[in-house]
Amino acid sequence: MATATHPRPITLPSSESGVWSWITTVDHKRIGILYLVTAFVFFIAAGIEALIMRLQLAAPNQELVSGDMFNQLFTMHGTAMIFMAIMPLNAAFFNFLVPLMIGARDVAYPRLNAFSYWLFLFAGLFLNASFIGGAPNVGWFAYAPLTEKLYSPTTGVEFWILGLALLGAASIVAAINFIVTILNMRAPGMTFRRLPVFVWMTLITSFLIVLAFPPFTVATILLYFDRVLGSTFFIPAGEAGGNPLLWQHMFWFMGHPEVYILILPAMGAVSEILPTFSRKPLFGYTAVVFSGISIGFLGFTVWAHHMFVVGLGTVVNAAFSVSTILIAIPTGVKVLNWSATLFRGSISLKTPLYFAVGFVALFTIGGLSGMMHASPPVDAQQSDSYWIVAHLHYVLFGGSIMGIFGGLYYWWPKMTGRLLNDSIGKVQFWLAFIGMNVTFGPMHILGNDGMPRRIYTYSSGQGWDEWNLVATIGSFVIALSMLLFLYNVWLSLIRGEEAGNDPWDGQTLEWSIPSPPPLYNFRTIPVVGSNRPFWDSKYSDIPLAEAVEDAEEEEIHMPPPSYWPAVVALGLSLAAVGLIYSYPLAIVSVLAMFAGIFAWTKESTEMSHGETGAQGY
């Protein structure tokens, strides 16, 4: 084993290199990078799906793709962007940063962490492989009874059900890991009131995942029973006694918290970036954290606002309308606190700041349009129209993706030891910013002009032609921005400027250690005395670690690599393939998975006999 105490530049934080070391890694930083790369590939794929859709809709009556292919494209675009791009991109940051920010040497369960990644990877490949035989074509919301065998006989829906069950399992496992890490592995002095906001948002997001996904998993399983075992859970009363609205309740009980699962991490990233580049503390730390918590709570009380037009009745609609509009309060508090953080700061106009400010600007638009369809009568016009497409993209592109890019530019030097080019970054920002406004801005107008969502073609002369063309042009500006980002990444990797430990004059713990950090992160576990420990160690007299006189040097034990997480994840994923194509394969895969689990537990026992710090799980 290498004992590199000083990291080499460029090379990633590791003791070994080579493919095998990546497959067996349990290092949270490497797993974070694996998440990042994998999720970005899925992000690009889902983006290409969007471009094809925009081309199809650029003009009326086009026949670039068939209606069925278009339906597959928007189903996969939505599913992939949510579950295979934004969520795992967020998980990449959680993985890489949470231990660094709380002063820990790894996450609570390093091998379980690896398992989450491999399961996510295999599930993503599994879902994308469905294009070969016909991808799911029922929308990412998969409303029953359209998803029942009678109306969707192809295996696409099975791919969707099983793929999401796998992705859900991967997310829950990862979320439990982060919850325990944050609750239990904070450095001395890192109290909850000193936790960086990004870590707070990770904690809230993880709780949302843990609580929101099980009901959804039940829904997918029941749908699977409907399709395979002939039950009729979602086939309506007249014929079978089931209830298609039950699907919607179960789906949106996950589906709405999911929005906050996607946006809260970006809010956390922005809450780190704005203070650093303003050289000020975050304005109203406590208010921002409590807003996040209340958004998390309220997120579970609003699901039926996705169902304002299904006829739940005036009273139910009014109640859900109130809970929905209430979310405007914590959201507003956050936006104003961010603005106040900038106010009277010393703002360094670097790329991460551009993206962070872009996030606040665009997310505000998404929030305002959201407030409009929180009103049930207004929603009766806007629901399922392009207005909603505009709204959700302002939240998820203008919000999540902008926040993620801000985070990428901000933490890239910590991950790789190299800076991304700032000038290219700014050009990329403006392309993304303008492109997204040109794409999604006109969709507000299209929605108000009565253009429904999820239509693969439309007739000319309804006033939709021009704005659709504009939107398509905008989408290619976004694509250009993404290409420029990839170029910037390539440039940084081959000859990026060396970042050093602290390129941005940072405030939190991760900037106190080398870039990229050594495998064990902290040689000395810091002792935290404020909620900006690194800043205060630079600018006030609060040191990061109390001097321990004559302390004996001790060995740092890091968990050993293991390939069992990948084996177990592969077994579980092949079981899903088996459920669709061959039951014997499913049985063999499940047995392989159990064998892997036992090997995993035995491995842990052996390790703990020695002097290692291997984690039990």
Partner: protein
């Protein structure tokens, strides 16, 4: 693109764009000149009370949003420009951690806005929740993949995809579905309401202006969701009376049309095993199939294929020859009639008016 896909004729409403909408939409590109004058589905041009009430609620909320938008973006732009770091030697700013009074203020301010929006919303909801007046015209609309069945239960009329209503009279629509979930939406007339199998949803509106209005299914319902449209004709009471009368009389077919009627009512293609009457109903005849839309008085309808193409001889012929050629995914199969048979059936269907 097959030549049959003709665009329907203009109905002549002048387009009107709301300037505030443009402002909110931050589109940088100047509005292009729209080639207007065709059928619109704009929610901004309400012609019935229901859509107008929503529009009257939407506009103030939009203005509130516009003000918040300007304030927030203004604060951001001002801060970033005013407080940008001019050189690396700029002093470290005052380390303000927060301000309880300010934060209390901007917790209360959104709360006030929330209350205002909620109160306005509830007022509109209360108005729209009123029970239909006793003279309301009852219409049952049932969604099918991918067409609309339209029934006037009190008048004993069944038709498809084209709804006739009198103006200035409350229309009480019951929305149902036969298969998957659809959504009944005439943007100019009323907010959408989902058509859910096993449930009956209601919507109520009074059309105030004579005209032909277009609607469309708004809930994704499978392959041809994009081409599941419908029309609503708002006419005077007198015109509505004569329409109902016409719907109830089935003219006796003559000549070629009579041959067509025979084919329609009895012929089963030996190659495909299909025939018109198996799926379609024509009131007053022996054709009583229920899988497809009723073709009663088809000759008087203005469109075919769920308001997709104009009801012309050419289009009807092409439709019967191969419906999926015009509307991909359509559940109506190729029946397997030869050209002469098709011509006869077309003549028959066109005679139904």
């Amino acid at each position: 693109m097959p030549p049959v896909r003709g665009v329907r004729g203009p109905i002549g409403t002048v387009r009107y764009r709301n300037p505030a909408l443009l402002a909110a939409a931050v589109a940088i590109i100047a509005p292009l000149l729209a080639a207007c004058g065709e059928l619109t589905q704009s929610t901004q041009q309400p012609v019935a009370d229901n859509a107008r009430q929503i529009q009257d609620l939407f506009m103030p909320i939009l203005w509130i949003s516009a003000i918040i938008f300007v304030l927030v973006q203004g604060a951001l732009i001002y801060s970033v420009i005013r407080y940008r770091r001019r050189s690396e030697s700029d002093p470290i700013p005052v380390q303000v951690h927060g301000d309880t009074r300010l934060e209390a203020l901007w917790t209360v301010a959104p709360a006030v806005i929330v209350v205002v929006v909620a109160v306005m919303t509830f007022r509109t909801m209360a108005v729209q929740a009123e029970a239909p007046p006793p003279d309301a015209l009852k219409v049952v609309v049932e969604g099918h993949q991918w067409w609309w069945k339209v029934v006037y239960p009190d008048l004993g009329i069944e038709t498809a995809n084209e709804i006739y209503v009198p103006i200035d009279r409350a229309i009480d629509v019951s929305v149902e579905s036969d298969d998957v979930i659809h959504s009944f939406w005439f943007p100019q007339i009323a907010g959408k309401i989902d058509a859910i199998p096993g449930r009956t949803n209601r919507t109520l509106f009074t059309v105030e202006k004579i005209g032909r209005y277009q609607g469309q299914c708004a809930e994704f319902c499978g392959f041809a969701h994009a081409q599941m449209k419908m029309l609503l004709f708002a006419v005077t009471e007198a015109d509505f009376e004569s329409w109902t009368a016409a719907m109830k009389s089935t003219p006796a077919p003559q000549g070629l049309a009579q041959q067509g009627a025979e084919i329609f009512n009895t012929f089963i293609s030996p190659t495909t095993g299909r025939g018109c009457f198996i799926c379609h109903t024509v009131d007053g005849t022996s054709a009583q199939g229920t899988l497809g839309p009723s073709l009663t008085a088809l000759g008087s309808r203005s469109t075919l294929g769920a308001a997709l193409i104009d009801n012309t001889t050419e289009n009807l012929t092409a439709w019967i020859r191969n419906p999926a050629d015009i509307k991909p995914g359509v559940l109506m199969p190729v029946v397997g009639l030869d050209d002469d048979q098709i011509a006869a059936v077309v003549a028959y269907l066109q005679s139904l008016r």
